[in-house]
């Protein structure tokens, strides 16, 4: 006991209650985030090891390991906390601790944002999964039991829009200027109204009636198109009209709300749902929607002719209303959408279903379209 460094067991017993709070954090098991977990990444025929972090049940992978995993180059700006992942044809970017992730210019929200762990940037498996699905066309799956991150080519259809696919072009009468009459939604789909009316059924009835009338207009070659369930998308309808070098496009729609009558819409990006409200597409400038804006003057003239003709026929008509309707986006000819409103009310449904009103409506549309069929096709 002469050694000054020696401590008696009695003293230790005396100090034990006092030292316990100090020693507890040291003796407690390490939290999962403190040291990370060694995991395996399976990439088709390759296997890599990576040190992942588990926090609140979510697995985080080092940003700079994500580059080789997805097939891209990862960068992180320490000053701004901006991170990015550059693939062959896609760029993903965002900021640490922010749930907003841009992939190919499209914003996506995640629940577990990228974050800084022990001074290094990490992406959650959720972010990796989102990048895989929206930009890299890969499926990213974390197998908790095996501690494996499996990365493989996407098995399901990618959430990203399909860029190209074949659509058959309908037969076109010879020798006339093509007028595309788009019946809009598939039969039975879209807005509902009184007396069992549906937007899709109404659109087809209106387009067919207009087609029969327009066929008598000199030089006109009407073509009726309609989306089928899982089939023709608005962009494809626009593509068809462009492929046929249509002289004019009319889409037929209906709404439950509104005062019974007809509203005529044209494409526009400014003052869309109120004064000063502007729609700004994510697409780059001079893109798909800009081509529709370029034809807005002629579309508005067509809309005004139709409103005048409908009013003269005794059918209540309003417009032209300006909106960035996807049905008009990308159409490279004068284009309008005609909407029967107030279908939920008995008066609105009666107006839309009345054969006499329908005949007058078809005649008014034919009259409004007539100037577009003049001249050689």
């Amino acid at each position: 006991m002469n050694n000054p460094a020696a401590v008696s067991p009695g003293l230790l017993l005396l100090l034990a209650p006092l030292l316990a709070p100090l020693l507890a954090p040291i003796l407690a098991p390490l939290p999962a985030s403190a040291g990370g977990v060694r995991a395996v990444v399976r990439l088709a025929d390759q296997i890599r090891a990576v040190q992942v972090q588990v926090e609140n049940g979510e697995v985080h992978v080092p940003l700079f390991a994500c580059g080789p995993i997805l097939g891209g180059e990862a960068r992180w700006d320490r000053l701004t906390n901006r991170w990015e992942m550059r693939g062959r044809q896609v760029l993903a970017r965002g900021y640490l601790d922010e749930p907003l992730v841009y992939v190919g210019g499209q914003p996506l929200l995640v629940r577990n944002p990228p974050r800084l762990i022990d001074g290094a940037p990490y992406l959650s498996v959720e972010v990796l999964r989102v990048l895989g699905r929206h930009g890299w066309e890969t499926d990213v799956v974390w197998d908790e039991a095996a501690r494996e991150l499996v990365v493989k080519a996407a098995q399901q259809e990618s959430a990203a829009p399909v860029r190209t696919r074949r659509v058959s072009i309908p037969a076109v009468p010879d020798g006339g200027r093509v007028l595309v009459l788009d019946a809009g939604h598939p039969r039975g789909a879209g807005a509902r109204g009184a007396r069992g009316i549906s937007e899709g059924d109404l659109g087809l009835a209106l387009a067919t009636a207009v087609s029969a009338t327009v066929a008598f207009v000199e030089g006109a070659a009407p073509v009726v198109i309609q989306g089928e369930e899982g089939g023709l998308e608005p962009a494809e309808a626009a593509g068809l009209a462009n492929a046929l070098q249509a002289s004019a496009y009319v889409g037929f729609h209906g709404s439950s709300y509104g005062t019974p009558g007809v509203a005529v819409w044209v494409f526009g990006l400014a003052n869309v749902v109120g004064t000063g409200v502007v729609f700004e597409p994510f697409e780059p400038g001079q893109g798909w929607s800009r081509s529709a804006v370029a034809r807005s003057a002629r579309s508005t003239a067509l809309a005004r002719r139709l409103i005048r003709a409908l009013s003269e026929a005794g059918i209540p008509a309003t417009g032209p209303l300006q909106a960035p309707l996807v049905q008009l986006e990308g159409v490279e000819c004068p284009a309008i959408v005609v909407e029967f409103e107030g279908l939920a009310s008995p008066a609105g449904a009666s107006l839309a279903l009345d054969p006499e009103v329908r005949a007058k409506f078809a005649a008014a549309v034919a009259a409004a379209l007539a100037p577009e069929t003049r001249g050689a096709p």
């Binding site: 996506l108 929200l109 709404s255 439950s256 409200v277 502007v278 729609f279 996807v326």
Partner: protein, 186 residues
């Protein structure tokens, strides 16, 4: 002498341990008290103005709502859109969203763009151009009136932009709100 030294040593260790153990807890207790003082029952509710269509024309009517006080501008957007999902109280006004449709999350970016993320099911309603016009208009008018920090909004479905808000109005872009609104006092 030896016993005195032991007792003195133990006392010193006890003081150090007590200081190390106690100070953080006192700080946490103080913080908890400050937090408790902030959450006063009478300050937990706030007034908001929501806008709903009437079914006639393009007009919207104003409705005053009492709802939980927002913790942040993004939270205010979430509360307002949730109130729009609850539907109008006034007879004659019409809903713009399916019953009890609420956003999954709202993120307000530093440029003032509010990303409003709905469950896809909330946007899968049978809708014509007019209903969709009124939905987008109701969101825009409600944000303009209540959220001067919000400069634009984006509608997402399950975390990603769908092709359309419902069936006619585009969702792959931002709806920019008028910039001439007075800034919210800080």
């Amino acid at each position: 002498m030896k016993t005195r030294r032991i007792v003195l040593g133990a006392a010193v260790v006890a003081v150090v341990v007590a200081a190390l153990w106690g100070v953080p807890r006192i700080r946490r207790l103080k913080a908890a008290l400050r937090h408790a003082v902030r959450i006063e029952p009478e300050a937990s509710q706030a007034s908001y103005l929501c806008y709903f269509p009437t079914g006639e024309g393009l007009d919207l009517v104003e409705e005053s709502r009492q709802a939980p006080k927002a913790e942040s501008p993004a939270d205010r957007v979430r509360i307002l859109v949730t109130e729009l999902g609850r539907g109008p109280a006034a007879a004659g006004s019409l809903p713009v969203l399916p019953e009890d449709a609420a956003p999954r999350t709202v993120f307000l970016a530093s440029d003032g763009t509010a990303y409003i993320d709905f469950p896809r099911s909330a946007l899968e309603q049978a809708s014509g151009p007019r209903e969709e016009f009124l939905l987008v208009r109701a969101i825009a008018r409600t944000l303009i009136r209540n959220c001067p920090e919000v400069r634009a909004f984006v509608v997402l479905a399950d975390g990603a932009p769908a092709g359309t808000v419902v069936m006619h109005f585009p969702a792959r872009g931002k709806y920019l709100l008028p910039q001439s609104r007075p800034a919210r006092p800080k």
